[in-house]
Symmetry: C2
Subunit: 260 residues, 2 copies
């Protein structure tokens, strides 16, 4: 249930690595290898590569994951959202150029901006629904009695003919995460916001597990990537991922035991 | 008032050029030079470069515009939208790496995803408000009595301390374009959807001109870029841009004459 977000920040790289963009590939692959035993998915964040002109590293890191850890889901976090043939170009970017399994999609422009990513049943879209940030209520929770994010959740169910949609539901809004779960059946949810942003893991599991006590992919990025700034950064990342996976497993068992 | 959208589609390139990604730079620069006499702005569309791995060409084309046509506004159409330090990486991508003047922004994640692009008063954000596509009403026109797109328009006014926001208002919805104009005062609007998508230029001007009979940037892409598939593609593009500029000027004069 753990997704490790790959948000490489050169200034935060551990001491064994040069604190600049030339270390992005080495850093990300080291994190991937260190955490693969715990992680079900990896989510490289596009902006961190784009700002540095390191798209080729992004492609190489995904190739490394595919080759070395072929059972892992790869989510390109690029928040694409466009229409017509432009959407088709983004499909090619995500699935051909980068060979990601799924790509995060912003639904503001409507169904036409989501559907092109759903045509291939072996790939898919992770659609923004209720994001974890503090002011996401401004648009997503509007209007209060029939909010946009539930409109997105309902639509995702309707679009999901190929069973290849996930929704983003932030850990910082467990009540809304529960609302989404009630709308979407067993659809998997990608949950950012545990850790640094303050989301409570137990509440997330209580609200978000599906009928099979599954259906959650809990994302952690910085708490794992920058668990240590020293020589031991790989061991520290591995341990942070293991601890989080253990916590998830423990809470889940507790909920199962309580018959929830 | 004309913005030429740079959406390079190799398969549609005119006969003098190789119909592949290696011609993207030459094609775009030829279009820029051919239409610069009519265009106030150029808007390269990111997906078209990203799908082909041609980010370096995108940077070089923007540099060409800056150097050869320094008075033109450069809008990077990348529809970014993310939060926290990720938004800061996108700011660096748009304004440092690519040296664009403005970047298109998707507001779904809230104010936090827009504000980082407004800090530098010499740069700015073009925020999606009411897009030109057929199913944009699904989210943007919801709920009918107090729609999301007007919430975005009102917020843009509040965010605009540095006077560096534009809004996207599709030509295909002239009534809503007029609603936006009434909410945002003299704020400039970027208007896609004239031409191929069927937006009516006269209705756009009637609904969208501001108190100074300005404030519209009318985007045209394919009707100019692919005006001819032959040897004369540069002349055809220049002529298409000139005709559109002439039409804009004529309708605007007519409206001024009628006292609107």
């Amino acid at each position: 249930m753990l997704c490790v977000g790959l948000d490489p920040i050169p200034a935060a790289f551990p001491t064994p690595l040069q604190p600049d963009a030339s270390s992005i590939y080495d850093f990300c692959c080291a994190i991937v290898d260190a955490t693969a035993a715990s992680a079900a998915a990896f989510k490289p964040q596009f902006a961190h590569f784009a700002a540095e002109g390191r798209e080729d590293d992004l492609a190489r890191i995904i190739k490394h994951i595919r080759t070395t850890h072929p059972d892992k889901l790869i989510i390109l976090d690029a928040k694409r959202g466009d229409i017509g043939s432009t959407a088709d170009f983004y499909v090619r970017e995500a699935f051909e150029r980068y060979d990601a399994d799924m790509v995060t999609i912003n639904p503001y422009m409507g169904p036409e901006s989501v559907r092109p990513f759903l045509n291939d049943p072996t790939r898919g879209a992770v659609v923004l629904c209720r994001t974890s940030n503090a002011d996401s209520d401004w648009l997503q929770q509007f209007p209060a009695d029939d909010p946009v994010f539930l409109r997105v959740a309902d639509a995702a169910v309707a679009w999901n003919h190929n069973n290849n949609i996930m929704l983003v539901a932030g850990a910082t809004y467990p009540a809304e995460l529960g609302d989404i779960r009630r709308r979407v059946g067993d659809m998997p949810l990608l949950v950012p916001g545990v850790g640094a942003q303050g989301g409570d893991l137990q509440q997330v599991l209580e609200a978000g597990l599906n009928s099979a006590s599954q259906g959650l992919l809990i994302n952690a990025s910085r708490s794992i990537l920058y668990a240590s700034s020293g020589e031991d950064f790989e061991q520290a990342a591995a341990l942070a991922a293991e601890v989080l996976t253990h916590q998830i497993r423990r809470y889940r068992s507790k909920l199962l035991h309580n018959g929830q």
